[in-house]
Symmetry: C2
Subunit: 407 residues, 2 copies
């Protein structure tokens, strides 16, 4: 593959690259590079955020390079030594292996299984005795370690830093020494640790690894504020994620809910093919030659197919479309306004959505009424004043938009 093309594919979406001349030079040798990326096996459920990095690993694989998937079981088995319960490992070796296997199976939905070397860092880190640890620690200074943003801040704020925390970046760096890797990939929040690896390799007389970081993916609820995409990074605890193992219809629906700007971000970080493909698509949407909803459907199809298959993606699309037409309001619909709280039954009849209040009661009891897509059967249901209109469906085709103002 042409060197410039390789470089442009590999650099796509990357936050940090230390350094581009190094990468170019290493690629020029014409030998496959060894790419390392580490994962914490104690959080086995992958979501799209994790796959940004895996997408980059896959880019390397597709270009013929060797990917080493390092399961960080060593630290997982130690548990968190900052807690009080130190004498027993947090999880057993078997549990870690099982979790890592689950993790890897999910990862293979993005990675090429045949071209992925799965290793556990306990294999070599457990072999390090105290002498070797001291030797390793002797290669790095406290001052350099304290350049890490969180250490610096905590130290300045007199927040506790346990001494073992200073050893973790060294352990990760030693992985690079052991593997003699050419490139280490990680999330942009891992930059410091990755650069420690680069320096420690030099100390051990190895060519220093090239460091590349991928962005932290925004969650599906990110929105544009003042022209800028704003949102927390995708995480399970914030419930703004698309899980790799979720059902196809669930994934599809979540992806269809994202705003347009986020869609282009996801295109950049999660879709395959070169940059030009999605940029051209964006251009067509901006110029009115393509409906953004169709672009979103194509993105959702690609991602769902990656985690399931083409057929599942098609089914998910069909399910979403029928649900959409069932649940979502047409662009133009009757609008009715009311001042102060109002009973749903009254709103239905007065707005003209149904012919009478007895008809409204009948439809409610029959389960034919949805408010904002949610079925309502309670005939005493009230609509409280609020800023946004209620979108109410009173039957197969009967829609009304109700605005309830404060009294």
């Amino acid at each position: 593959v042409n060197l410039d093309l390789q470089l442009s594919t590999l650099k796509r979406g990357v936050v940090d690259l230390h350094t581009e001349p190094d990468l170019r030079q290493r690629l020029q040798r014409g030998k496959p590079l060894r790419i390392k990326a580490g994962f914490d096996p104690t959080r086995p459920d992958l979501h799209l955020g994790h796959t940004v990095l895996m997408r980059k690993m896959r880019d390397f694989q597709d270009l013929g390079h060797e990917v080493v998937f390092v399961v960080g079981d060593f630290t997982a088995m130690i548990g968190d030594p900052s807690g009080r319960n130190l004498t027993r490992p947090k999880v057993s070796a078997e549990e870690v292996r099982a979790a890592a296997q689950t993790y890897a199976e999910q990862a293979y939905k993005v990675l090429d299984r045949e071209k992925t070397k799965l290793v556990y860092n306990s294999e070599w880190l457990n072999q390090l005795n105290f002498s070797k640890v001291i030797e390793l620690a002797g290669r790095y200074t406290l001052a350099r370690m304290m350049e890490r943003e969180d250490f610096k801040t905590r130290y300045a704020n007199h927040a506790s830093i346990s001494l073992h925390e200073l050893l973790y970046p060294l352990a990760q760096a030693y992985d690079s020494v052991h593997l003699a890797c050419d490139v280490e990939l990680g999330g942009s929040d891992q930059l410091f640790n990755l650069l420690v690896g680069r320096e420690i390799m030099r100390e051990y007389g190895l060519p220093p690894q090239i460091v590349m970081t991928t962005p932290l993916l925004e969650g599906i609820n990110a929105r544009v504020e003042n022209g800028v995409l704003v949102g927390d990074k995708m995480s399970k605890s914030l419930d703004n994620y698309v899980g790799v193992d979720e059902p196809a219809t669930e994934q599809f629906g979540k992806l269809m809910s994202i705003c347009d700007d986020l869609m282009w971000r996801y295109y950049e970080l999660l879709s395959r093919g070169d940059d030009d493909a999605w940029k051209e698509k964006r251009q067509r949407c901006l110029s009115g030659g393509m409906n953004p909803r169709d672009a979103k459907i194509e993105l959702a199809m690609e991602i769902v197919a990656q985690f399931h298959d083409e057929a599942a993606a098609r089914q998910a699309r069909e399910a979403w479309e029928s649900q959409f037409s069932a649940r979502h309001a047409p662009q133009n619909m009757t609008q009715w306004e009311h001042q102060g709280e109002v009973a749903l039954m009254i709103a239905l009849s007065r707005s003209g959505a149904v012919s009478s209040s007895s008809e409204a009661r009948r439809r409610l009891e029959a389960g034919a009424v949805r408010v904002d897509g949610e079925r309502v059967t309670d005939v005493h249901h009230k609509l409280a004043p609020r800023a946004e209109p209620y979108e109410i469906k009173a039957g197969k085709r009967d829609w009304v938009r109700v605005i309830v103002r404060a009294p």
Copy 2:
């Protein structure tokens, strides 16, 4: 042994004691305590400074306690990781063992060989793998470690602190955990490390060790300035030491050269018997009932006998006395004063030490003249102005004290 008597013997000459109530309580149990002291085997030549600590260990032994002599071979074998030559150990295991044996043989001149347990900390520290090291490091915070004076100063001054340096106090602390010792002894410059041991033992659920430190002994050239004893600590590089392995006459001569205040310091820290014995002796010297020189001879005899034997001590004394009378000035002698630098030959003749300047020249050339005990044969030798008088011997019995004032 009576508890209060034990306590007073053990506390004699001690700088730090953490804590006295703990020590009292531990002694009250009536079981022998386990006393730990660590030594660096890479400096195998012991001098009197080292024996202060051993003297304290011996006190414990004499009271029936168990002394564990920890050879710090673990760190010695690692070498200094702050240097660049890291890949090879500084010294081999065999070399360390040999040095440790030499060290121990010298130590047994103070310690009771039969009651001393000699152990090498590599036995257990080499067994610590990375997980255990992380567990250990997780028990201590960076902030606490940075309370150590030298770390604090170096960090503040942007001087380099290598990360492995933070691990050494933890290694020493782990020795205490492994040995489950009751007391750790060390030089007063070791206080911080010893206290880390105390805390780490608590973290591992063990009764925290009692920490006792002994003073750093002043070298033989310490002098009184403004009523205070001032001098560097004894060290080989400053050439102000009395070596444990030096010949008896050498030791005796060096000890006889110390000033009176230093003599009482040495009595306190190096002699056996209770405090009252030497304090009474000091009282007699101060009241004129005893010549301080005789007290010094008794001290030198005791110390030399400890490192050699009684007979060797007697011989050293005799040799010193005959040399002394040959080299040292009588108490009363002629005194001659001169303002400004003066030639030795002039001083000899004018002071009346010799009959003429040609006689002075003859004696100088014959090697019969000593200035402050040092032979002078140069006929052009000059005496510069100085505060103390010169003690000049011009022949077998011809002494003169020459005071040369500034012009």
